[in-house]
């Protein structure tokens, strides 16, 4: 079965980030033979004076294929993991959802979108999770992180929000790769311009700084722009500054 996993508000000013914990959970799911996890994405939530957050207001999510028999085991493990690994003063939340469809899917999508525009409550999050039969749990502090955890799951489900946690690494030292070479990376589904046009596989892309993809249309997209005159490649990946909006 396919699942969505999202965690939020596990960190403080001095601790590891929520993204690192999400990555560790994903790795654990695989190392214990429970299934296979996809990349982790970061989803920005609404920044508002009425929304308390410890250090960032971004949720970290991943999808995974898991053997049904191991789902409850994974959920139990993730809960203990968050309780023990989350930082002092944080308010961690965990969401694990089997991939929803139909009306359930729409309801989760809506919650994710709403979390980027308005203040949502723990009560609303728990009510929706019960309605959709989604696992939602808190593991310390106020547990306010359940709002972001559920919202992040919805945003990952929607496939049009967020950017890759970490960076893409390619074999070899070449910093100019063809689109064909880029597509060989398991986390690159397409290479497109900023207007969404997919590049021919023969086009050359200069890689600069940290290379990240954005989640667009349900795919992990490497977005590129025309390279400055004099560069080796015709295109280059977006800078960190340019990726801010994803």
């Amino acid at each position: 079965m396919r699942i969505l996993v999202c965690i939020d508000d596990t960190d403080n000013l001095d601790s590891r980030g929520t993204g690192e914990l999400a990555s560790l959970l994903a790795e654990c799911l695989e190392s214990r033979g429970w299934g296979k996890a996809d990349y982790v994405t970061r989803h920005q939530l609404l920044v508002h004076p009425d929304i308390p957050y410890t250090s960032h207001n971004s949720a970290m999510a991943f999808s995974a294929s898991i053997k049904a028999a191991h789902l409850s085991e994974f959920i139990a493990y993730a809960g203990v993991f968050l309780a023990t690994e989350s930082a002092s003063g944080s308010d961690p939340g965990l969401c694990v959802a089997t991939w929803p469809h139909g009306e359930q899917e729409q309801a989760l999508l809506n919650f994710g979108r709403q979390a980027k525009e308005q203040v949502l409550t723990k009560e609303a999050a728990y009510a929706l999770a019960r309605q959709l039969e989604i696992h939602l749990s808190e593991h310390g502090g106020t547990g306010q992180g359940v709002v972001g955890a559920l919202a992040g799951a919805g945003l990952r489900l929607g496939g049009n929000d967020g950017r890759l946690k970490g960076q893409l690494r390619f074999v070899g030292a070449d910093r100019v790769l063809s689109v064909r070479q880029l597509l060989a990376h398991p986390w690159v589904d397409a290479v497109t311009t900023t207007s969404g046009q997919e590049l021919p596989v023969t086009e050359q892309v200069q890689l600069v700084d940290k290379v990240k993809t954005a989640l667009l249309g349900g795919r992990s997209i490497l977005v590129v722009e025309p390279a400055p005159h004099g560069c080796d490649g015709q295109w280059q990946n977006l800078s960190r500054r340019q990726m801010k909006g994803y």
């Binding site: 980030g17 993204g19 690192e20 004076p49 971004s58 970290m60 946690k165 940290k210 960190r240 500054r241």
Partner: protein, 66 residues
């Protein structure tokens, strides 16, 4: 450059797109500490926008070390 709001937070007056100024501020701050990688938004490592003590507001950020 930083203005105290009604919560006592020191909020940067330049908003969220004043890249050069925050790079300059961070380079002379002495308290800069890089945030976790996935929260970086500035191209320059040394930028208030990439600092662990940066706390976003709706229109700018507050510096928790100011």
């Amino acid at each position: 450059m930083f203005i105290r709001d009604h919560h006592g937070l020191a909020v940067f007056s330049g908003g969220q797109e004043d890249w050069e100024r925050v790079a300059h501020v961070a380079s002379s701050c002495g308290r800069f500490r890089a945030d976790v990688e996935e929260e970086w938004v500035a191209d320059e490592r040394l930028s208030c926008y990439n600092c662990r003590y940066r706390r976003w507001t709706a229109a700018s950020f507050a510096c928790l070390k100011a």
